[in-house]
Symmetry: C2
Subunit: 394 residues, 2 copies
């Protein structure tokens, strides 16, 4: 099933990609850094990567956000690594939709993550032990506030754009209402203003699967004994929601793994079964179960409407000043098009400059991560237009 | 959340219901009873219930099939029990859509089940131990063949109708092609001719959750130590697929369980979380984990097209003679309307008498189990018409 997983990667990616990148670390030490839950985190590390060059006017910076299980490695390759490139290498690079010859792109691993930023698997400041479930509950607001500190550190006072899909789109929108003066444009892809009951339900079952694994041990596991089975079930559940009925029909249908007749056993005979099993097994190698709990909870808590508008989506965006490009995918049933339309409606009522496109696709929610020339063209055009509008500003 | 679970039941149900029913048992002893997988089951018990009276001509019998986790208790109440009535009490009873004043209704627990019929939790004929995972893999065909033996036992040579939703609909259709001369009409509700990749995927993850529970112990568990957590996750996954985005939005949205502010903990704060947890916990009290494995596998194997038509749905129904009433629900995303339309198309190409209706509903797949006057009227009209057409036959 390798082909399916690496479908974004082809040989030309190496040549056309941004090239070699390095993960960097930014440390926040602030005894007054209070999270939305009320708890304090004095020491925070944020892992990040940059692509392209910040110009003299410092007006070409684009902040890109990863989704649930992504990381700061949005494009290019790590030195001495022939692994596949960053997760959005198809979009970010020289001459690409997010053109690193023109723009300075930053992507950081979210707070709560397990790819270099502080999260439940980090050690406590006194190095005695890991946070595990003693890590405070974090929210999208907390993630965005850490990113703001990183921007301060990089001396970036204006963002040409904030861009992300899914949980990344939530962060992109949060930026526009929390720091309206800093954000020139926002591109939320395949996302929502607030998590629906359906999305909460899938997340809760996935969390339940992890917590039901005896090896989870209330979050106190170690490398020798991790809740791999629970996390694998959680991933399998998630993975189904990232695809669509159509894409699964096209890709798998009722095809058998070994092209033989049905074996009348409980083995994974259907290709779709093997594929999901493979996805589950691969995932546990790279992701931390506690991080999965914290990040999914942050998405469930996400409710821009309530937090910034006391229940009104129009009021929630009342402070936003950015231009928006909202994109949904027709077969995304996790964050269906009607949820993007609700965003557009709220923005329009605030007389903001908003473009909207529903991309016809059979690929489900994950479509935003796959190569699509329609998206690339839209991104390129929209970013150029915003950049042309501001680049002569002092 | 009790109100949600018992939404089909109101005080008038007792008065208008069929009344007291008793579970009966039919025993098959046949050393040559070979299942589709090739294995033999010499001793089979089928639990069943009947409602109404078989007339002298024996032409008023209707066979009703339950879905995945149902049982033979389709209507009425058990003696001395003030529990809720049978699962389709809203449809089956005196004067109801399936009118027990006119028709003789039979419903049996499927082979592989755990509500009285032989399944993995049954003891081996020598009473030494339970089958557990040594139970042979069963199929919808095997279930239907057991029901045929039950009909022979009851001396019923003709069925006015075979009716069921979901897995019940699969059995209803299988009857029409396996015993075409016996079946006068078929009513498949919210079902499919073959399980899609999406449906297989959800089933596989649910099975994976059960098998990942250490208490499953390769199927060798006992009452003191059952894979309740795994089965509960499996049920939660299933339950989401029985609802719909719309119904969950209407019923739960982002409502909190205790009407307080968000608590920033991992408790089940959203109502949808508590509801799913409750569904999972209730389910493990009444259902056997191994039965869940076997029955979901039978639905995954179901492929009428391949089994009876060598890949052609038209050929699959070529022997059918019955009249059909096919019903789908607009918000059913487990067996979407296009799958029912494929059935209708295949039937029409065989010039069979077929009526089709997509019921507009926000209730998702489970809609067929909930009170709906539109369905009731259709069932009543269709059954009357079929009955009027044959009741004067000799």
């Amino acid at each position: 099933m390798e082909a399916v997983c690496n479908q974004n990667f082809n040989n030309s990616d190496m040549e056309s990609s941004y090239g070699i990148v390095e993960k960097q670390f930014f440390h926040i030490k602030d005894e007054n850094f209070t999270l939305q839950c009320g708890e304090k985190l004095e020491y925070i590390t944020i892992a990040y990567e940059t692509f392209g060059t910040l110009n003299k006017k410092k007006n070409n910076a684009i902040l890109v956000f990863h989704a649930l299980t992504g990381d700061s490695h949005a494009a290019g390759f790590y030195k001495d690594s022939d692994e596949k490139p960053g997760w959005w290498n198809i979009v970010i690079g020289p001459g690409k939709a997010i053109d690193t010859d023109k723009y300075f792109v930053i992507c950081s691993n979210i707070l709560g993550g397990c790819m270099g930023s502080t999260g439940p698997s980090s050690t406590l400041p006194d190095k005695t032990t890991h946070y595990n479930m003693k890590f405070p509950v974090i929210t999208v607001t907390d993630m965005v506030r850490c990113q703001k500190r990183l921007m301060d550190h990089l001396n970036i006072k204006q963002l040409l754009s904030t861009i992300g899909g899914s949980l990344g789109g939530m962060q992109a929108m949060e930026w526009s209402v929390r720091y309206p003066d800093m954000v020139k444009s926002v591109i939320p892809l395949a996302t929502t203003m607030k998590h629906s009951a359906l999305s909460i339900a899938f997340n809760e079952v996935a969390r339940h699967a992890i917590k039901s694994d005896p090896k989870w041990n209330n979050g106190n596991y170690n490398d020798e004994s991790k809740p791999d089975t629970g996390l694998s079930v959680a991933r399998m559940i998630g993975h189904i929601t990232y695809l669509s009925d159509e894409s699964m029909r096209e890709k798998f249908g009722r095809k058998l793994q070994n092209k033989k007749d049905i074996s009348f056993t409980f083995d994974s005979q259907f290709q779709v079964e093997s594929y999901l099993k493979y996805q589950g097994e691969k995932f546990v190698e790279r992701f931390d179960a506690n991080s999965f709990l914290y990040i999914t909870k942050a998405t469930d808590y996400f409710d821009l409407e309530m937090q910034y508008g006391n229940g009104s989506s129009v009021k929630a965006f009342s402070k936003a000043k950015a231009k928006f490009l909202v994109v949904s995918y027709s077969s995304d049933w996790l964050y269906p098009t009607y949820e993007s339309k609700a965003i557009v409606k709220a923005l329009k009522k605030n007389r903001l400059d908003v473009s909207f496109c529903e991309i016809e696709s059979t690929l489900g929610h994950d479509a935003f991560l796959l190569y699509d020339n329609r998206l690339n063209k839209m991104l390129k055009g929209f970013l150029s237009s915003v950049y042309n509008g501001i680049k002569n500003e002092i």
